[in-house]
Amino acid sequence: MEYRELVKTIPRTMREVLSNKLMDVLLEAKAGDAVPSSVAKTLLYYWQRDQLASEAGLTALLRAVVEADPVRSAAVIGDFGLEEIKLAISLKEE
């Protein structure tokens, strides 16, 4: 799954709110330890610069949250009507 390509399909107006929702999912995920430390560090890099809603920040966030809680991630993304990304997450899960 090419996360960067998927993130490019997310409308810019949606990115801030989506990154906020996904961060909640990530912080509450029971399988947080499934997030590779390299991905976690990339995420922190963008968060420090307040760029989690940027294309690169959102890419790192999506990668992390899909590892930590794919079911809830897919549900949140579905709520935003991002069916292509939801499908990609569901396929990864299978």
Partner: protein, 334 residues
């Protein structure tokens, strides 16, 4: 000047704790304190990761203890951390928690002397003092110096609760971390700190006095009280009788909570915690209620307010709530 800090217990994955510290820095907090318990993640590993992802906020152990960590090692750790976070390192040290020390067979002997000598050694190490140190409990030879230079001073804060330790904090600390939440207890603590400073010939104004509180903020009082209940159960169980009696809490009730906690009867232990106990041993409520309580604490003479565990029902939301609705009542936002 009023400062605001936040305490984290590194029970969470490193990136979660670091995420929250970045959030706190963005919102204008001044200090981050990481607890030092052998059964959680290592305090200095946590701090060095945090140092890498923050720029401004001060950070340090809150608090370490000289029973499990020799002061030369504490000095080495904070001095090394200072290379990653130049001029931002602070060091909290106290006698530690008797119950935790007993778990690893360490007896808390002569706490005042131990903390005093530890502080002296840390300071000597940081400035690469020549000559040996001959304390009653700790000794270092003339050659026990760093092979590297420390470019900044590292303020040492002494964690204290009892009258003598509070006076010691006033006598030798750059700062004091008062382990209490009730205005009466904090006012009494400030008096002891000032007394200790004056006896040592110091100006009490030189000391940064922090209330290191159990804290919880939420949109409404009920939601804020829920997460603080287990923390208060442990505080009540561990409080000496004179503190309990001073706050009209029956010693037998505290003993029952202690026994229930020991027997892992969580429901009974937490169920015995009432509103009065929460108001005595925690600062919690809605943002407006917290603002009022913190304002009252600053009137006792503290200069620094630390929000300690549990912070709130949802850590991220509570840090935001504090940063956006409480902090601006006391200081300008960054």
């Amino acid at each position: 000047m009023k400062s605001f800090g936040i305490e984290f217990v590194p029970m969470e994955l490193f990136w979660r704790t670091t995420y929250y510290t970045i959030q706190a820095e963005h919102l204008g907090y001044d200090s981050i304190w990481i607890t030092d318990h052998f059964n959680n993640r290592n305090v200095y590993v946590s701090l060095s990761v945090i140092a890498n992802y923050t720029e401004r906020i001060k950070l340090g152990p809150g608090v370490t203890n000289p029973y499990l960590v020799h002061p030369v090692m504490t000095a080495q750790s904070v001095a090394s951390l200072n290379e990653v976070a130049s001029g931002r390192v602070i060091c909290g040290i106290g006698a530690g928690d008797r119950t935790t020390l007993e778990m690893v067979g360490v007896e808390m002997k002569a706490p005042l002397r131990t903390v005093r000598e530890a502080v002296e050694i840390i300071r000597r190490q940081i400035v690469r003092e020549k000559g040996s140190y001959e304390g009653r409990l700790f000794k270092t030879s003339a050659g026990a110096r760093f092979n590297f230079k420390v470019n900044d001073g590292i303020p040492i804060y002494i964690g204290a609760q009892g009258p003598k330790m509070l006076q010691l904090a006033g006598a030798i600390g750059d700062g004091a971390l008062i382990n209490a939440s009730h205005p009466d207890d904090i006012e009494r603590a400030v008096t002891y700190i000032r007394k200790g400073a004056e006896k040592a010939g110091r100006d009490p104004k030189e000391i940064d006095i922090a209330a290191y509180t159990s804290f919880s903020v939420a949109e409404n009082e009920k939601s804020a009280r829920k997460p603080v209940t287990p923390v208060v159960a442990y505080i009540v169980a561990g409080s000496p009788p004179f503190i309990l009696e001073k706050h009209d809490i029956k010693v037998e009730k505290a003993e029952k909570i202690r026994s229930d906690l020991a027997n892992r009867k969580w429901g009974e232990a937490f169920g015995a915690v009432n509103d009065h106990m929460i108001d005595t041993f925690a600062v919690c409520g809605s943002p407006d209620q917290c603002t009022e309580k913190i304002d009252n604490l600053f009137k006792t003479g503290i200069t620094h307010f630390v929000t300690g565990s549990p912070l709130g029902p949802n850590i991220r939301a509570s840090i935001n709530l504090f940063g956006l609705e409480v902090l601006p009542n006391f200081k300008e936002q960054p």
